[in-house]
């Protein structure tokens, strides 16, 4: 299940990168914020093939980063199974970044200020107050990113190619099977993809419900007057 592996790893990567980017960008002055925002969101609107092209230019074995990795670690960055991680991470990153930033911007800043006057470190405030308060946005961003990473095709096809059993993902497999006339094989993978996506969404819905239930149970104490 190369696809799941790739989507999971890239989502994990994006989770931290996207949140970190959102956290720091939200604090920047307006002009810098505007520019960075455009740069960080571009992969969302660019055709995936363009992203793939850029990645090849950067990571290809004869290009700067790719060459360096080859020399230092003896690792190829393209046309291997983990190449698709770069592709799906870059393409799905804006989804995480934007939803997380939206959540951080609607976060009540006085809560952070209160935490600081109480003597709490910024790290504590971030993990114990800010993240729980922005949970909805973060979860939504993660799910969207995962779904996008799972479905990534264009950039993946360019940077990882299609080697059955090695670099193939569900989306590239479906395309290859359909192209070679194996309609049933393609259908099988389509159904698998549907099942995975549906399962992910279902999990998230259940998580959200579970998260809300205990609060609801304790709620009916309204109308309490001192």
């Amino acid at each position: 299940m190369n696809s799941l592996r790739i989507a999971t790893i890239s989502t994990a990567l994006i989770f931290f990168l996207g949140i970190a980017a959102a956290y720091y960008v939200a604090k920047l002055p307006r002009l810098v914020k505007g520019v960075l925002d455009v740069v960080l969101t571009l992969p969302l609107v660019l055709p995936p093939t363009v992203v793939g092209y850029f990645l090849l230019r950067l990571l290809g074995p004869k290009r700067t980063i790719g060459l360096w990795f080859l020399n230092v670690f003896g690792l190829r960055l393209t046309m291997v199974w983990y190449s698709a991680i770069f592709a799906s991470a870059v393409v799905a990153f804006p989804l995480m970044y934007r939803t997380a930033r939206g959540a951080f911007e609607s976060f009540d800043i006085t809560l952070a200020q209160a935490g600081r006057t109480l003597g709490r470190s910024n790290t504590w405030i971030f993990w114990r107050v800010m993240m729980p308060c922005c949970k909805q946005g973060i979860i939504a961003g993660t799910v969207l990113s995962f779904a996008r990473a799972l479905g990534e095709y264009g950039a993946t096809a360019m940077i990882a190619g299609y080697t059955p059993g090695k670099t193939a993902t569900i989306s590239t497999t479906v395309y290859q099977l359909w192209r070679t006339g194996d309609d049933e094989g393609a259908m099988a993978w389509v159904l698998i993809n549907l099942a995975i996506s549906a399962a992910v969404l279902l999990c998230v819905n259940m998580l959200e419900k579970k998260d809300r239930r205990p609060r609801r149970r304790a709620a009916p104490v309204s109308g309490e007057v001192e």
């Binding site: 209160a114 006057t117 107050v129 304790a218």
Partner: protein, 351 residues
């Protein structure tokens, strides 16, 4: 313990120039209209905002000094800040919120238990902030602040988030808590009644500029500036011009008054509180003829809006408040003669 504040911050159109001292054992009010920089002052003291210039010293410890390049982070200032909306962490229960204020892990449980009982929060420990009443929220926030062992308390309009029927009770509770606190307390409000009931001294903040500190009774008996007079609730003010004979011409009222006291330098306005104005039988010193423009019935009293000889007809310049029966006896008189007793005339300067 003394908190000395002298800070300046420039926002282009708005400038904050605020300096005062607040001592232990008393509640110092910062009184001003909204947008005058009260909350900003508190935020600078807490270290949330950074002044452009100035000095903040707490009991000899410098919290901020531009020249010495000292700017302690909020975490190290030991300043307790009660936010207008209380800023309770919505994802934590009452107990967890209070525990968030305790740094010492070993003492955490005991401290939380002690504060929950002394702030009457038993039975609420496991509730979330939004399940609490406004008063309980405020007690939780105060408990959380005291848990962090602050040396100063800053209260930012602590009653503005409360329903009026809760306010009275919460105010009494707060007064008890404040009297038990040993350090200086700064109390920000735009409400003169809160100042009267909770504070011992008061500093008026007018459009970013702080005025001289005064005892609370002085604010109500003898305010010296126009802004202090207005904030103390005086509704009757007139532009004024000093005359060479020591009397004052009230330009908006069209009358020359004898204030019976020496005129201050820079006199610009005079004021008279509505309940000191007395109806008179006819002309005389400090008496002017007025025309009734509007009568507003309150629950227990009648407010009468009057135009004066100096003003245009139809435009009310004076306002008096009378018991209903007294007004009934006066109604219909035209003109209505009113005396502004010389002892009760407030002589005011611009700032």
């Amino acid at each position: 313990m003394v908190l000395q504040v002298d800070i300046h911050k420039d926002f282009g159109k708005f400038r904050l120039d605020c300096s005062f001292e607040a001592e232990s054992g008393q509640v110092t009010g910062l009184l001003g209209a909204s947008g005058c920089g009260k909350s900003l002052t508190l935020k600078c003291i807490a270290g949330i905002e950074k002044p452009d210039r100035g000095r903040i010293v707490l009991d000899g410890k410098v919290l901020f000094d531009l020249e010495q390049h000292i700017d302690l982070p909020p975490q190290k200032r030991r300043v307790g800040y009660l936010f207008q909306n209380y800023a309770l962490f919505p994802n934590m229960t009452v107990a967890q919120n209070i525990a968030a204020g305790v740094q010492d892990k070993a003492a955490r449980k005991a401290t939380v238990r002690r504060l929950i009982s002394s702030f009457y929060l038993e039975g609420q420990e496991h509730k979330y902030p939004r399940q609490l009443s406004g008063g309980q929220q405020q007690r939780t926030a105060l408990a959380r602040i005291l848990a962090s062992g602050p040396e100063v308390l800053l209260l930012d309009e602590p009653f503005s988030a409360l329903d009026s029927y809760l306010k009275w009770q919460v105010e009494l509770e707060l007064a008890d808590i404040l009297s038990a606190f040993s350090g200086p307390v700064l109390f920000v409000t735009h409400n003169r009644d809160e100042v009267q009931r909770l504070c011992q001294q008061v500093c008026v903040l007018d459009n970013g500029r702080s005025q001289a500190m005064m005892p609370v009774h002085e604010l109500f008996e003898a305010p010296r500036t126009l802004s202090a007079c207005l904030l103390s609730g005086c509704k009757n003010v007139s532009r004024a011009k000093a005359r060479l004979d020591g009397r004052v011409e009230a330009l908006d009222w069209g009358v020359i008054l004898d204030p019976g006291q020496p005129l201050p330098e820079g006199l610009s306005h005079i004021g008279v509180r509505a309940h000191y104005i007395r109806p008179a039988e006819g002309p005389g010193p400090n008496i002017l003829p007025c025309r009734v423009e509007r009568v507003v019935e309150n629950v227990f009293s009648t407010v009468v809006m009057l135009s004066t000889p100096g003003g245009n007809q139809g435009f009310s310049r004076l306002r008096i408040e009378l018991e209903k029966a007294r007004w009934a006896a006066l109604a219909g008189r035209e003109p209505l003669w009113l005396e502004l007793p010389s002892n009760d005339i407030l002589l005011l300067t611009g700032d």
